[in-house]
């Protein structure tokens, strides 16, 4: 079992309940899409699975162990096996694409290798290969601030491809891409998961993409799992209920990345 959530709930520090009574079991090699209206808890669920959030209640099992019961060292090794694709990849603007991609293996490399790699890329071929699958090989030595939002998202995906994660979690991985590119990119992620037999969970705004690429669909609404069905069994009625009160026919804009706030340091 790759993922097992039993009665998992999460309450944010401000008291808002983001998830409650979530039951979810995902076997090794399964590929599933998480859909649901904005604010339903899709991102929270993925961050919970990436151990970037700790559940307030319930049991969370990942890759056969319970991350929050592990000692810190073992949790760190477990984290190196999880790959999270962020919706707006948190990459330093001045970092070069090759460094950003190779950073995927920081959890596996010894420290000296990581630091050496910062001075001189040790595996540019590996980075180029990962980027090439996403049609981004040309940008290998460019800086991240020279890329568009969609290109940055692909750099984030290339990092997780290079990481060779055993559980790939993707939070709106194609939200800033045009439909053709989005479809191609989801195809790359799915083929990667299939060929290595690893598990893939992706949250998606676009229902048609989810249905087209993923065999299993999980609908999330108001912090609860509304349905968990094979793609062919998802009915229009189920979708209507999931998105009730949502204006389905309006195109949803990709959430823009929040600008980092700049703090001036007093200099004396």
């Amino acid at each position: 079992m790759t993922v097992r959530l039993t009665g998992v709930g999460l309450t944010h520090a401000n008291g808002r309940r983001a998830l409650q009574e979530v039951e979810l079991t995902v076997g090794r090699g399964e590929r599933l899409a998480i859909i649901g209206p904005s604010g339903a808890g899709k991102t929270t669920l993925l961050r919970l699975l990436a151990t970037s959030l700790q559940p307030s209640e319930g049991r969370l099992e990942l890759l056969g162990s319970e991350p929050w019961r592990l000692p810190a060292g073992q949790r760190k090794r477990l984290r190196a096996r999880l790959g999270l694709v962020h919706q707006s990849p948190p990459l330093p603007p001045r970092q070069r694409v090759v460094t950003a991609v190779l950073a995927g293996r920081l959890g596996q490399w010894p420290l000296w290798k990581s630091l050496l790699n910062l001075l001189h890329p040790l595996d540019p071929a590996g980075a180029r290969n990962a980027l090439g699958r996403l049609d981004l090989a040309e940008q290998l030595f460019e800086r991240c601030d020279q890329l568009s939002g969609g290109q940055l998202q692909r750099v984030g995906i290339a990092r997780v491809l290079y990481q060779q994660a055993e559980l790939i979690l993707a939070d709106e991985p194609v939200s800033a891409m045009d439909p053709v590119l989005a479809s191609h990119t989801l195809g790359v992620l799915n083929r990667e998961a299939e060929s290595r037999g690893v598990t893939l969970l992706a949250s998606l705004h676009a229902v048609d993409l989810a249905l087209a690429h993923f065999p299993r669909i999980v609908g999330v609404r108001e912090g609860r799992i509304a349905f968990d069905l094979p793609a062919h069994a998802v009915t229009p009625q189920a979708l209507d209920a999931l998105y009730a009160n949502e204006q389905l026919d309006q195109p949803r804009p990709a959430s823009p990345a929040p600008a980092p706030h700049v703090v001036t340091i007093p200099r004396c």
Binding site: A13, A50, T51, S52, L53, Q54, A72, K76, R77, L78, R79, A80, R81, L82, G83, L84, H86, P89, P90, L91, P92, P93, R94, Q95, T99, A103, G104, L106, G107, Q108, W109, L111, S114, L115, L118, Q163, P260, V262, V263, I265, R267
Partner: protein, 284 residues
């Protein structure tokens, strides 16, 4: 309830700027605090315009022209300048070696426990950072001139005392500011790396450093400039360099020599400024 009250208050006079009253109060408070400060420091600008004082100052400054520029003095000046640069640079290098580990230990950005807690480390991890912060406070709370006086007694007159004094005081300043620069840049890259199992130092190098490097570098060069000036002040207590020369020249009422050395300072600070600008240009 409270929000209801405020909304009715705003509704009664919709054009009133809600920030006006706090701003007025803050201005009054600042003035109320400034006045006793002026009284306490016995600032009286009238003494500057007193005829006798003006004449004394005039003759002192009048001696400055022309700056001394004979070959023998210039050789001495060159040597003293190099010594000052060496004191400042060696002191900064030592300070940097102490400051970087302390800053890494003190900064919240590299907290692994903060990853799953929205950027807030658990209390005991935060408590462990306190001793390092205290160390940095102790290092910088004693002025370098006091350290210089202490080391002049310990290691004798000469540049070594200046180097050690700068190393100790400036490590405290650099460590504190480095830690704060690290906390002021976007924390998400480092947090994402830590959440992917990266070691802290690698997360720092890949997630924080690219964003913080320009600011850290500029601050370091600025501190180097300060160290040059500090090494001059410490020269007065016998820690070598240009300061020692200025002290000697002043005692001998050789205004021209003082002027030459002040011009040298100006050139050094200009150099530091240009260096900082060049390096920042390279990094951004």
């Amino acid at each position: 309830m409270l929000s209801n009250l405020t909304s009715t208050a705003t509704a009664s006079n919709p054009l009133r700027d809600p920030a006006a009253l706090p701003r007025l109060l803050l201005t009054l408070l600042a003035m109320a605090l400034l006045w006793p400060g002026l009284q306490l420091s016995e600032l009286n600008l009238a003494v500057l315009f007193d005829a006798g004082n003006a004449a004394t100052m005039g003759s002192f400054v009048g001696d400055f022209w022309p700056p001394t520029h004979d070959g023998e003095f210039l050789a001495l000046l060159g040597r003293a300048t190099l010594e000052t640069l060496a004191i400042a640079t060696a002191g900064m290098a030592l300070a940097w070696l102490i400051a970087v580990p302390c800053a890494l230990l003190a900064t919240r950005v590299l907290s692994v426990s903060a990853v799953a807690r929205g950027g807030h480390p658990v209390w005991w991890a935060q408590a462990l950072r306190w001793p390092v912060r205290m160390l940095l406070i102790v290092l910088r709370s004693i002025p370098e001139i006091v350290w210089a006086l202490l080391f002049v007694r310990a290691v004798g007159l000469g540049p070594t005392a200046g180097v050690l004094a700068i190393a100790i005081t400036y490590s405290g300043m650099l460590g504190k500011v480095y830690a704060e620069i690290c906390e002021s840049v976007d924390p998400r890259p480092a947090r994402a790396l830590l959440a992917a199992g990266s070691p802290r130092l690698a997360a720092f190098a890949y997630g924080v450093l690219p964003n913080a490097a320009a600011e850290m570098l500029s601050y370091t060069v600025y501190r180097w400039e300060c160290a040059i000036r500090a090494s001059v002040v410490m020269g007065f207590v016998g820690a070598g360099g240009l300061g020692q020369q200025i002290d000697l020249s002043m005692r001998m009422f050789a205004g021209g020599e003082v002027a030459s050395m002040l011009l040298t300072f100006f050139a050094l600070v200009l150099l530091a400024d240009q260096l900082s600008r060049f390096l920042r240009g390279r990094l951004t």
